[in-house]
């Protein structure tokens, strides 16, 4: 190639663009010119356009000329036409039709070179239009007896690409069994291509391709036992057919361990041979040799982990990876760390993985590549359990001091989760989180500091310690704003626990907090104001000081509306309210309902569910809104799922029976006061007491009494079929007096609304004494959902306003259809749903006596089929069913393992959808 030309390009970017525009203008004029271009020129200009495109410039013409080239009989013209289409495909449907026509002709040409070009083009573009046109045709080409090997290879991968784009357009049929037999083909290139295709198809249609398992095993066996020269050109740096081996091992990961003992034995032999070869001296010093050999080894280890059934192999795999942890190749250290993460979650190898802790910690300290250190953090997280948590958390904290900015937030989340999960001693937990804030305050997200507050509030034993520790931490002249938030909140709740010590008297506490006030952002200041009003209640002696602060212009006339409102309202509250009212309004926060750590949810969101391994019994529920968290929630917008302040709570609003919710939060103070001073009653009541329990009772049954007080009884009868249901609600007036303005309202949250359709008619606004009215609700499940709708009833009874809210027990499991299946099918499906995000597990204490018959009835009531003689352990219960929604059907498998001795259950749900597994597990767990 010559390196000089007639037109030396300019030195600058502009010159290049100028030059290109000139050329583009030239080409455009050629294409538009009156003189028809011959094929050669057309090809030349199309090729130039491609070249310009590849230099990074946009090309918006020439497609038509390229399409014309497709029908040329000259190979090179055709070839350039196809290349242009592959690289620069335009979704212009007009052209697609023409392109498809050309492809069709070439496919029918029986000229293998032309067929190859056409297939390459389909595989490159892979659009839906192409799938529509060719998905029926290509399987025939693939399995026809007279098709040349190279065309077969292209056809297989072409079909694979179309299946990935439009699985619905690739019909399964007779051809599938013939494709499976390509695994036996003489030509290793054909086998390689076919294996890729089969793997992809088998993931979605395992039953159809089941026979591929034994064929794959025997093929693999022949490869791994072959001498390095047997396979000629398919041997790569002394490794026999590494690509094919990897693909076969990957295919086997679509299935559980083979049931046929002979096949299984042969596979185990293969895996052992691969592990043995890793110990042999290398046949070549070239990195290609070791890469190819180890590629096969890592894939074999993946299969061993996937089967998770041979302790011997698992431990050998772990030892092998242990060797790699100290290998001089960075790539191998990286992969070993990555692979060990999955091994850590197998019960057989968890302990073996733990023995490498020192090496991994060392990697965290010494690896020069951040992506390797990241893997080390992941592995430490995965291998953490109660025995090594203090060490691992300490190491992560010390690493955090110097960690790369890119991974700090993730480490913070991981430390926070581990500290919470494995805390035996909660003072350790509090120390750890405060350390986190000290070391990496900027990376401590809301979820983390909300969580420490939740935990402190829920655990009496740590409150005094927490107050003391935050007080001490706040002494630092410069502390992170997050510490001020945590400190403010905790002292506001539990400052009294340390107020006895003259060194932390109320006034000192207040002054300490207030010294940080002016340096903080508006949300933090708002939180501190709430702390101050809480101090007014806790420490009457500082009330005047606090009132002075609230009264100052910088508060009362603050430009920020939120701060101003708080100052005005808190000041007024502290002046007008009696001690009793103050004590009620500003009472200590009630315990938070136990839910999944919101931090874990955050980490999952950040990393994707698959990378967050859960070793133990972390409850996986939906992400938590930290209700009553320090952010204010005005009453007018308060939702019912959270304990929201309302008129009735203070007993200042109307009449009994007051739906007693939990006491209000300090954070809700802003909205709370609106209710103190107004008499508005149009707020939806918080959920009635006991509503949760009643709700849970309906998960496994359809009829019964949902709610009852002195005035009103609500009964339910409901029936469900597939994704539809109908619910009869009976409102009974238990008194002898009329209910007036009787208005039941169904409320679906914004999140629920699109997924659940409820239709009903209003009922008569007057309910006579002793009478019962009926309301029919038609239900349609559009898509899976988590929340339950709320039924709010408002009416007047003898001059008082009544307001009741209950959760309506329309739950996802109502749309179950039971499915019967044999043991073999069950476990096969079970294995297929083995991605971490498909499975949700909960281990929990039995709340009721552990009676087998009752449990069976509950599982059947839950809606799934109860499968007998499926689980090898007769004490376990397994069930299967399909959730019907309008948009989709979701297969669900469940397994409940009781442990009588410990009075515990382990419930595992596997479905194809994480949210569904989550919700069903949540619902069913509450039943036992």
């Amino acid at each position: 190639m010559i390196y000089h030309g007639k037109h030396p390009a300019g030195k600058s970017k502009e010159a290049e663009i100028k030059r290109i525009n000139k050329e583009l203008a030239n080409i455009r004029s050629k294409f538009k010119g009156d003189k028809a271009l011959d094929g050669y020129s057309k090809k030349k200009y199309v090729c130039k356009l491609l070249f310009i495109f590849l230099l990074g410039h946009d090309i918006d013409f020439g497609h038509m000329e390229a399409v014309n080239l497709l029908s040329s009989n000259r190979y090179t013209e055709k070839q350039i036409g196809y290349l242009f289409i592959s690289v620069l495909v335009n979704s212009n449907s007009e052209l697609i039709r023409l392109i498809n026509n050309a492809i069709k002709n070439d496919l029918a040409s029986r000229n293998p070179t032309f067929m190859g070009l056409a297939l390459h083009c389909i595989a490159s573009v892979g659009s839906r239009e192409m799938a529509e046109a060719f998905a029926g045709e290509i399987p025939k080409v693939l399995v026809a007896g007279d098709t040349m090997d190279s065309v077969k290879q292209s056809a297989a991968l072409c079909l694979l690409r179309l299946y990935r784009t439009s699985p619905d357009l690739v019909p399964m049929g007779d051809w599938t069994s013939r494709v499976v037999h390509l695994l036996n083909d003489q030509h290793l290139g054909v086998v390689t291509a076919a294996t890729s295709l089969i793997t992809t198809l088998a993931q979605k249609n395992p039953e159809e391709f089941k026979t591929s398992v034994s064929l794959a095993v025997s093929r693999l066996s022949r490869i791994v036992t072959s001498a390095s020269t047997d396979l000629q050109d398919y041997t790569y740096y002394f490794v026999p057919a590494p690509w094919l081996s990897v693909k076969l091992l990957r295919l086997l990961q679509c299935y559980p361990p083979p049931e046929d003992p002979a096949v299984r034995g042969r596979l185990t032999e293969c895996l052992e041979t691969i592990l043995n070869k890793a110990q042999e001296p290398p046949k070549s010093k070239k990195v290609q040799h070791s890469n190819a050999k180890n590629a096969v080894l890592f894939e074999a280890i993946s299969l061993i982990i996937h089967h998770d059934s041979e302790p011997n192999l698992l431990v050998r795999a772990c030892n092998q990876l242990g060797q790699f942890l100290q290998h001089r190749e960075t790539n191998l250290r990286y992969l070993a760390l990555e692979s060990m993460c999955t091994l850590a979650s197998s019960e057989f190898s968890h302990e073996a993985v733990k023995t490498h802790i020192e090496t991994v910690i060392n990697a965290l300290k010494t690896e020069r590549d951040v992506s390797v250190r990241q893997r080390a953090v992941d592995l430490l997280y995965a291998m953490c359990d109660r025995s090594n948590a203090p060490q691992i958390v300490a190491e992560m904290l010390s690493y955090l001091e110097t960690a790369d900015y890119s991974i700090r937030e993730e480490i913070v989340l991981k430390v926070a989760i581990l500290a919470e999960k494995y805390a035996v001693d909660y003072t350790w937990y509090v120390d750890t989180i405060l350390n986190l804030i000290r070391i990496a305050g900027d990376y401590v997200s809301e979820e983390v500091w909300y969580r420490v507050i939740q935990i402190v509030i829920n655990r009496d034993d740590v409150q005094g310690y927490a107050a003391k520790t935050v007080f001490e931490a706040l002494q630092a002249p410069a502390c992170h704003e997050n510490l001020v938030k945590v400190g403010g909140y905790i002292l506001g709740e539990f400052g009294n626990l340390i107020a006895g010590d003259p060194r932390s008297s109320p006034l000192i506490q207040f002054n300490l907090l207030h010294s940080k006030f002016h340096l903080c952002s508006v949300p933090t200041r708002a939180l501190l104001l709430s702390t101050y009003i809480k101090f007014v209640n806790l420490f009457p002696e500082v009330k005047p000081t606090i009132q002075d602060v609230l009264r100052s212009d910088s508060q009362l006339r603050n430009a920020d509306v939120e701060l101003q409102q708080r100052a005005v309202e808190y000041l007024r509250l502290s002046t007008v309210a009696s001690t009793d009212i103050l004590a009620t309004v500003l009472e200590e926060m009630p315990p938070f309902p136990e839910r999944e750590s919101s931090i874990l949810a955050k980490l999952k969101k950040k990393k994707g569910p698959s990378t967050v391994t859960d070793l133990e019994d972390t409850k996986r529920e939906r992400s938590v809104d930290v209700n009553g968290g320090p952010e204010p929630a005005p009453a007018s917008t308060s939702t019912m799922s959270t304990p929201s302040p309302s008129a009735d709570l203070l007993g200042l609003g109307a009449a009994p029976p007051a739906p007693a919710g939990p006491p209000p939060s300090s954070g809700g103070g802003g909205g709370l006061l609106v209710d103190v001073f107004s008499d508005s009653a149009s707020v939806v009541a918080p959920l009635a007491p006991g509503s949760e329990d009643n709700f849970a009772r309906f998960v496994c049954k359809n009829n019964g009494v949902l709610f009852e007080n002195q005035l009103l009884q609500i009964g339910l009868k409901s029936e469900f079929r597939q994704n539809l249901g109908r619910m009869f609600i009976f409102y009974g007036n238990k008194t002898s007096t009329q209910f007036l303005n009787f208005t039941p309202t169904l409320i679906c949250s914004d999140e629920l609304q699109p997924n659940l359709n409820l239709q009903t008619k209003p009922v008569d606004p007057t309910v006579e004494g002793g009478a019962q009215v009926q309301q029919v609700v038609n239900i349609e499940c559009v898509s899976d959902f988590t929340e339950a709708p709320v039924l709010n009833i408002q009416f007047r009874y003898g001059g008082t306003f009544q307001n009741v809210s209950v959760q309506l027990p329309i739950t996802l499991n109502k749309f179950f259809q039971p499915t019967e299946m044999a043991s073999q099918d069950f476990f096969q499906r079970w294995k297929q749903l083995s991605n971490p995000q498909q499975e949700v597990q909960n281990i929990f204490k039995a709340k009721h006596p552990m009676d087998t018959e009752v449990t069976k009835a509950k599982i059947i009531g839950f809606g799934s089929a109860l499968l007998e003689e499926v689980d090898p352990n007769p004490a376990n219960f397994v069930g299967a069913g399909i959730i019907h929604t309008k948009t989709t059907q979701i297969g669900c498998l469940l397994r409940l393992e009781p442990n009588l001795q410990a009075q515990m259950y382990r419930l595992t749900l596997r479905t194809s959808k994480e949210a569904v597994s989550q919700r069903l597990c949540e619902l069913l767990s509450a039943q036992f």
Partner: protein, 160 residues
């Protein structure tokens, strides 16, 4: 495999092959981001990195970076050898391949890649078979033709 990119040390894209449908805008964004990320890495660092929900496998040969994006389940090491085998194929075809060969014979680079990888999967791993296919195609070329690019294009060379 989701895509393969070849780019120079200066960040100039030399070849791109996408195996998943993406808009031009997305492709450009991905390319820009990845080129930056990979070029910022030091020579002795490991060849794999996590990027979005994909795994990136890359290797530098002289002035060119070869960079593949694979999915979570895919095998990193074998992908590294896919890159190497492709380099071997180019090398064998061009005889000691260099960046300029790929710039000016880009269509050959694409044809070789298509024979080797199709739809993101390995189609044929035998060096002999791939090169045989390319040679056969070359035989079909009309004798009257020389190179596809006219001399006027050579002028671009110096700009890079």
């Amino acid at each position: 495999m989701q895509f393969m990119l070849l780019f120079s040390r200066q960040g100039k894209l030399r070849l791109q092959k996408w195996y998943v449908p993406l808009s031009d805008k997305e492709k450009k964004k991905i390319t820009r981001e990845l080129v930056q990320t990979v070029l910022a890495r030091k020579p002795k660092m490991c060849s794999f990195l996590e990027w979005r929900d994909l795994k990136i496998v890359y290797k530098r040969y002289a002035s060119l970076y070869f960079c593949c994006a694979i999915e979570d389940q895919d095998n990193e090491l074998i992908t590294l050898e896919i890159i190497h085998r492709y380099v071997e194929l180019l090398d064998k075809y061009f005889g000691s391949v260099c960046e300029l060969d790929i710039i000016f014979n880009f269509e050959k680079a694409y044809f070789i890649l298509d024979e080797f990888l199709l739809g993101g999967e390995v189609q044929e791993t035998s060096k002999k078979n791939v090169l045989k296919a390319i040679e056969q195609a070359d035989l079909l070329q009309e004798k009257t033709e020389t190179m596809y690019h006219s001399k006027s294009f050579i002028g671009f060379k110096k700009a890079y």
